[in-house]
């Protein structure tokens, strides 16, 4: 990932997540029920589902660029850096798959 594309992804994902967080908080404050059924109903609307999937993607990308930045800044031995970047990528990918599985189950 080039310097500019990582930088751009970090900023765009941050903007999306900031907007989504406000929307999610307002939506939760207005929710009448927190049951599994209500959650499932909410996700049945395509717009809600797409919004949430995009938020998950934005969060993963944002975490990847941020975590990668920390490792590039502070971890200097090449081998250790590669191992840690791989662990970070694996962890984020795993988290993404887990999140997707939960969401598909609810949907």
């Amino acid at each position: 990932m080039s310097g500019l594309s990582a930088w751009l992804i970090q900023r765009l994902s941050a903007l999306y997540l900031a907007g989504f967080t406000v929307y999610a908080l307002v939506r939760l404050a207005m929710a009448e029920s927190f049951s599994h059924a209500a959650w499932s109903d909410w996700l049945a609307a395509p717009l809600n589902a797409v919004t949430l999937w995009l938020a998950a993607l934005a969060l993963l990308l944002h975490a990847w660029v941020g975590g990668r930045d920390v490792l590039l800044d502070y971890v200097h031995p090449l081998g250790l850096r590669v191992v840690m970047l791989t662990i970070l990528a694996g962890w984020l990918l795993g988290s993404g798959i887990w999140f997707g599985a939960i969401l598909l189950e609810v949907m």
């Binding site: 990932m1 080039s2 310097g3 500019l4 990582a6 930088w7 751009l8 990668r68 930045d69 590039l72 800044d73 502070y74 200097h76």
Partner: protein, 250 residues
């Protein structure tokens, strides 16, 4: 009550009755096991004296004290050092602005050659890497190559850098990755040639900077702009480069 107040609020900065104390980093890697702070006291000082004047007086007392200096006017950038925790030029720092005792250290993040003299080879190498010279695609004209006032205005704030190193030595990203991150001084110079209407290597310059390290280790903490003794803004220059990069793709 007074012990709760920071020293700077208890009394004004500068010499008191002409007297000021100095705590100066001393280290000769060839003979000393470890660095130490050496204490000095000078009398008959005025708040309008510059720190360089005091250092020159101290060297009359102790000729082993090592520091660089040249013009003494804030133009050559030789006497950059860390003064009470902040990088600056000794020759344009008034004693009246400094709290007593004045703690002087070499520029942080650079290898010490002796006392306040640091090895700036890597700093200059990073400057070279941005190819800091005009690269026109046509041979230079016989006469001067005119710019419009607007074209010249875009270079304001970019050409005045004296390469003292205060900014790069205040940048944690440069401390962590001095070989790979170019540092604010070199990036300000990169911006200076990217913005120059007479230079036609802009695309290649932007391409060269677009990796994870050379420019994008900058996290915009603005230490560089805060300490620049010439009042320049390398953070803003780095932002201009980013915008130019973005303009190529979007």
């Amino acid at each position: 009550m007074s012990e709760w107040l920071p020293v700077r609020f208890m009394r004004p900065p500068g010499p008191r009755d002409g007297r000021m104390r100095f705590s100066i980093y001393r280290y000769d890697p060839e003979s000393d096991e470890a660095p130490r702070q050496q204490e000095y006291v000078l009398d008959d000082l005025s708040p309008d004296d510059m720190l360089l004047d005091a250092l020159l007086s101290l060297r009359e007392i102790d000729e082993t004290l090592g520091f660089r200096r040249s013009c003494g006017e804030g133009v050559c950038g030789s006497d950059a050092m860390n003064i009470n925790g902040r990088n600056g030029l000794a020759c344009i720092t008034r004693l009246g602005t400094l709290t007593d005792p004045v703690e002087i250290r070499p520029l942080p993040g650079m290898p010490v050659i002796r006392d306040l003299i640091v090895d700036m080879d890597n700093f200059h190498h990073q400057y070279q890497r941005v190819e800091p010279w005009l690269q026109p695609d046509a041979p230079p004209p016989d006469r001067e190559q005119a710019q419009t006032p607007e074209e010249r205005e875009r270079l304001d704030g970019l050409t005045e850098c004296i390469l003292c190193g205060c900014c790069s030595a205040a940048c944690p990203s440069y401390w962590w990755n001095p070989e790979r991150f170019l540092g604010p001084a070199a990036l300000l110079q990169a911006a200076r040639f990217i913005e120059d209407s007479r230079d036609t290597a802009t695309e290649a310059r932007l391409e060269q900077l677009d990796d994870a390290y050379k420019l994008f280790r900058c996290h915009t903490i603005m230490n560089c702009s805060d300490v620049c003794p010439k009042g320049l803004n390398p953070t803003e220059a780095i932002g201009r480069i980013r915008r130019r990069m973005l303009g190529r793709h979007v």
